[in-house]
């Protein structure tokens, strides 16, 4: 499987209602932290919802930037959902069904490494 198979996939909740599209995949270091990447990276969860152009430009992470651009792009902040991997019930060619419903999903915090 490839990361691009998850990106853009359609996520629906247990009632079949659309939650949104996957626009990022959160990875975590599997196992204790060793030199650099050590045992590698594991998928911790999916970030679902409208892509945050502002985040892409780095407004969420330390970019103060000209206020004009923050005004225009900054506002497109994270309004997506953070879907932990263990909530996923099935993945079939770019359509992901999860347990529970959209509103009991936390909004994603910036990964802030």
């Amino acid at each position: 499987m490839r990361l691009s198979d998850l990106l853009g996939a359609e996520v629906v909740d247990e009632h079949g209602r659309a939650v949104g599209k996957v626009h990022d995949v959160r990875l975590e270091q599997a196992g204790p932290e060793q030199a650099d990447l050590g045992p590698g990276l594991r998928v911790e969860g999916l970030i679902v919802g409208r892509p945050a152009l502002g985040a892409r430009f780095g407004f969420g992470r330390g970019v103060q930037g000209p206020w004009l651009l923050r005004l225009v792009f900054g506002s497109l902040g994270h309004d997506g959902h953070d879907v932990a991997w263990h909530r996923i019930r099935s993945i079939r060619d770019r359509r992901i069904r999860i347990a529970g419903t959209a509103d009991d999903l936390p909004t994603p915090q910036p990964s802030g490494d």
Partner: protein, 127 residues
Amino acid sequence: MARRLDAALELLDRQLVDKDGRLAGKVDDLELTDPGDGLEQPRVTAILTGPDALAGRLHTRFGRWLQGVVLRLLARQGPARVPLEQVQAIGSSIELRVAAGRLDTGQGWARRLIGRLPGAGEGDAAQ
């Protein structure tokens, strides 16, 4: 606290730099283990780089067609794989432990072509 990364935001499209500081392509996609029926958490096994990996990200007919064309053009089966163990560090670019020559990043045909011109010098020893 285990380090956390947003794959698309902080890995995808980042510049790969080999151990000699030479540029070795971009992170065009990531290879994950298949969750299978058990739906275990997929692990990142390798970084994929090359125009065909890039084309694979366009989940449209055009993307698949482009991927086919690029593969035939570069006469290769699939994108170049950079196993995750060869990644030294992740920052504003991705430093690798290995020389770019060792990675089959599709430089071959271009290097043979350019190498014929006078004064081209020799490529990396390993290529």
